[in-house]
Structures are given as C-alpha cells and as structure tokens.
C-alpha cells in the first residue's frame, strides 16, 4: 500500500474518499460489462444469441460441453500454455539484461542500439510473416513449438520497459556492489533485478498475454491441428458465411481463465513495491 500521502490520510473516512472509491468501483463495473455479455452469450442456445440480453432465458452449458469434449481444445490449451510460459521466461531474462545494459553502461553505439531495437516495434508483424515462414521452412522449424516461439523470444517492448525502470535504480547501489567485489553479472542478477520486481511482474504479465493471444504467426507456421494455439483453434468455429458466436464466446471465456490466474498471481508483486530502496536511503 503506497504511503504516498500519510499526513493527509486521516483515520476517519472523508467524503471525498468515498466518492472516489465509489466512482472507481462503478468505472470498474462498466469496464467489465462487455465481458459479462461474453459469458452470457456463451451460456445461450444459438437462437437466443441475437437478443443480447444479459441473462439468457434458457441458460445452457451445452456450448461448454461441446467445446470441452472436443479433444483438440485441451491440446490447444496446453500448446498455448507451454509456449506462453517459455517465451515469458525468455523475455524476463533477456529483455531485462539488455535494458539494464543500455541503461547503466556507457559505451559508443549505445543510443544507436537502443533506437535500432526500438525500431523493431514499428514493423507490423504481418509483413515479417512471409520471410519468417521461408526461414522456418529452410531451417525445418515448421510445425514445431520452436517455430511458433522464436520470433517472440526477446522484444523491444520488454527491453524498453525494463530500461525505463532500471533508470530508477540509483548508481550508488551498483558501485557499492562493485566495491564489494561482485562481478557485473552478479550485480545485475542479485542487486539490480530485485529492485525492479514491479516492472518484471508487469513484463511477465504482458508477455504472457501477448503470446497467449498471438494469432497470425502461429496460424501460418503450423498446419497440424494438434499444434494450434488457442486463438487459432477457436477460428475453427467460424465457417463460410456463418460464425457460431456462442461457441466463440465460450472459447474466449475459457481462454480468459489462465490469463486471469497469471495476472492474479503476479499482481501481488506489484503491491509489495520497492520497499528496500526507500529504507536504505
């Protein structure tokens, strides 16, 4: 809990605080309304889908049983899970390493490398998809986990994020560690990294999410249904001229669960905050 304004926090509840809290809560509820409709549609029969009421007249779990009984759904789920996890770990490691290096070391070409990495954000993946496909085919990476994962193992987004957060780490800490005889890698790993855990948690959440919902590339690089990731698998519910929305909503609802769990797990680290830095002063 941020003690940002300790002097101004009185123990008694001020009306301003209540209003703010209420508005925040109402805003939050408004934010999730579309999701409520998503879940509600997933509980409807096809003929009810288009009356867009929040509560179905004839609620049914038929869509869920249909989707879950389709053995492929589990495979897609596991695929997405494994891939998203591995890519997240890779990003947490490499992006912070690069972000740290670009922030805390001075050397020629530093700014250029930063801009170069940042510039990779500006190419829409849609355009890289074909060169990647040809590359994957030549190297035998098609229809494999690695083929799906390799483009995302490090990202400019993560590097940029971590660089910004490493700026908040005072150089004195690092110098003190150097005097204590730690080598550069140890300094990064045991001193700097713990100080940016909120950023690392945020990074983990976003990379996981980004890979969980990734669509175009996994679609292109796999032909084998068993290797589909979840978003690609869900498109099998749409056929020519006909989209089965109740099934898509069901799939989407089921797909939200792991991401929700990941989020709930990591957000606690953001709460804990940067305690040590403040104390050492």
């Amino acid at each position: 809990m941020n003690a940002a304004l300790p002097a101004l926090q009185m123990r008694s509840i001020r009306p301003g605080r209540i209003i703010a809290w209420t508005l925040l809560l109402m805003g939050g509820i408004a934010m999730v309304m579309p999701l409520a409709f998503m879940v509600s549609t997933s509980l409807k029969f096809p003929h009810e889908v288009y009356n867009l009421s929040l509560i179905p007249e004839e609620p049914t779990l038929e869509n869920y049983t249909y989707v879950l009984e389709d053995g492929r759904f589990y495979k897609w789920f596991v695929n997405s899970l494994v891939i998203a996890t591995i890519v997240t770990i890779s990003n947490v490691f490499f992006d912070s390493l690069v972000g740290y290096t670009l922030c805390k070391y001075r050397f020629r070409g530093r700014y250029l490398i930063f801009i170069a990495i940042l510039s990779t954000l500006m190419i829409p993946t849609e355009m890289l998809v074909i060169p990647w496909y040809i590359m994957s085919k030549n190297l035998g990476w098609l229809d494999s986990y690695w083929g799906i994962m390799f483009p995302g193992m490090m990202t400019a987004f993560g590097t940029f994020l971590m660089k910004q957060f490493f700026e908040t780490v005072p150089d004195d800490f690092l110098d003190a560690a150097r005097i204590d005889g730690l080598n550069e890698f140890q300094i990064w790993w045991s001193i700097a990294m713990p100080l940016v855990t909120p950023a690392l948690s945020a990074l983990a959440i976003f990379v996981f999410l980004g890979n969980w919902t990734a669509f175009i590339w996994p679609l292109i690089v796999t032909t084998n249904y068993d290797l589909y990731t979840l978003p690609v698998g869900l498109t099998t519910f749409s056929v020519e001229q006909q989209v089965e929305w109740e099934l898509i909503m069901t799939g989407a609802a089921l797909a939200t669960i792991p991401t929700l769990l990941v989020f709930l797990f990591f957000q606690r680290f953001i709460i804990r905050g940067v305690v040590l830095a403040g104390l050492k002063g």
Binding site: M1, P34, L52, T120, I123, M127, T259
Partner: protein, 298 residues
C-alpha cells in the same frame, strides 16, 4: 585471453561486459527482425505477387502510393487514431491509477476489474461492442440515449462517428495495461520523498505536480511512446469490428496496417504492400524519435 582482460582499465572492462551481455540479443534481433525487414523493404522496389517473377519497378510503387487518394485518407485516419487515442487513454489511465493507488478496501478486486478487458480476445470483444452500437431496440448505448430522451446515434453506420466508435474499445482494452504500468511506476517512487513533503506540510496538489509526476517521468515516457506506436499500428479492433466492410464505412475507419494487410493478403500485391510498410515504419520512427527528444531527461 584472461591476460588481455586484466590489462584493461575498469571502465573498459565494463564495456566488455556490456557487449558480452548484448552479444546473443544482437544476433537475435539482426537475424529475426532486421534481416527480414530489409528483405521486405527491398521488395518494395519490385512488382511481385507471390510466385511469379519479381519485376524491378524502382520507385513506381511509391509514386502510385502518393497519388492514391485512398492512401491519404488512410494516412489521415491513422493519425486521428493517434491524436485522440493516446492522450485520452493516458489521462484516464493515470487518473484511475492515481486514485486506485490510494484505495485500500477491495483494492485488488477493483484493480482486477480494470485489467480484465485486457485479457480478452479481440474477436469476441469486437462482436460484443458491435452489438452495443446497434440501434434501438437492441443496442445498449442507443437504449440508454433513448431513455434520456436523446436522439439515437448511428455510431458504426456513420462516416464521422465510426472511427471514434472503434477507438473506444481499443482504448477500453488497453486501459488495464496502462493502469498497471502507472501503478508500478507510482510504487517505484521511494517513500522518502513523500516523507519529506509531509514534514514540510506541502499541499496534495503540489505533491502531485512537483514530486509524483516528475518522478513518474520514465513511466510516462514509456507509455507515451508505446501507446503512440500502438495506436498508429491499430488493427485488431478495426479488423474485427468491420469484418464485412473492412475499414468502412467508405474507408472512414481504415488505418494503415489494415491497408497493408489487404494489399498483401487480398490482392497479393507484395511490392505495393511493402512500400506501404516502409511509409508506416518511417512515420513511426519519426514520431518516436521526436517524442523521445521532447521528453528526454535534462
């Protein structure tokens, strides 16, 4: 090898460490990002439709581009997404993060509420929002307007309202991301600063303006640059909300990335598509560099 390392100054050794850290990542970025990008850029000087011969056409793709009225409309749309989207979402995100930071009761729950939209799939949400925008008696928004006696709005069926109507779910979906980053940034501010302010008896507004915001600068810089890139590259919401009439009505919502996608995967005109990509890349690069320059630390 070790002898050579020992002979360097401390500063030089650090530089070696730095390059050591960067070695593998550089190989990665060059191989996975830069090389395919140059290949794609090189294609913009050709006329190629996937399997036929590549024909050198020099700058003709670019000439066609500059004279294409659809391209300019799309260009303008893309900037409108940026100019309205980035400030709106950042302001809302900061306000929410700032007050949320002070809330203790049900903090986790409320935070999850704001973040949930970020976890959803674009296809599903686009459909729900499309239905929200329907006219009475189905559409939630128009029903609400009607109950207040206000006239109905065409929303997606209007060439002027369609773009903001599509921007809304894009901002809505991205809000959670920005709020979390802001929260992380707020939490990273050491308490010592606030304790000092408390001792000095400074007003809350001054604390916000003089302490919080300046210390939040790295976070703000990150979000401004990243959100700008995101809005300039907007695709998912437009694609999923205008599936039958992509970028419509009458191209009023079409952003650059959708145009590229259409040219590449519908017309199979790879040369033209990569020329459009080059333009997008240049715009993004210029805007980001400008933003970083303006917002740089003094």
């Amino acid at each position: 090898m070790a002898g050579w390392f020992q002979s360097l100054t401390i500063a030089q050794r650090r530089v070696v460490w730095a390059w050591g850290f960067l070695a593998l990542p550089i190989i990665f970025y060059v191989g996975i990002r830069f090389y395919p990008t140059f290949e794609a850029f090189w294609l913009s000087f050709y006329d190629w439709n996937l399997l036929g011969e590549r024909q050198w056409t020099g700058l003709s793709n670019y000439a066609t581009l500059l004279q294409d009225p659809e391209f300019w409309k799309v260009f303008k749309n893309t900037f409108i997404y940026l100019i309205i989207g980035t400030p709106t979402s950042l302001v809302i995100a900061f306000v929410v993060a700032y007050y949320l930071d002070q809330v203790r009761f049900m903090h986790g729950f409320i935070r999850a509420l704001y973040f949930l939209p970020f976890l959803t799939t674009a296809v599903a949400m686009a459909w729900v929002w499309r239905w929200f925008y329907q006219p009475v008696p189905i559409g939630v928004f128009n029903n609400a307007l009607a109950s207040f006696g206000l006239p109905q709005q065409p929303f997606l069926r209007s060439t002027t309202q369609a773009l903001p109507a599509i921007l809304a779910p894009a901002v809505w979906a991205g809000l959670g991301f920005q709020i979390i980053i802001f929260l992380a940034g707020l939490r990273a501010i050491p308490e010592t600063y606030y304790e000092a302010a408390r001792i000095d008896g400074v007003s809350r507004l001054t604390v916000l303006w003089e302490i919080t915001l300046p210390l939040l600068k790295p976070t703000i810089v990150f979000l401004v640059v990243f959100s700008s890139i995101g809005f300039l590259r907007i695709f998912d919401q437009v694609f999923n909300m205008t599936t039958n009439d992509p970028g419509g009505p009458l191209n009023s919502t079409k952003p650059l990335v959708l145009l590229i996608y259409d040219t590449a995967f519908n017309s199979f005109d790879m040369g033209y598509a990569t020329a459009q990509t080059v333009v997008l890349f240049t715009v993004l690069l210029i805007i980001s560099v400008v933003q970083l320059y303006i917002l740089r630390s003094r």
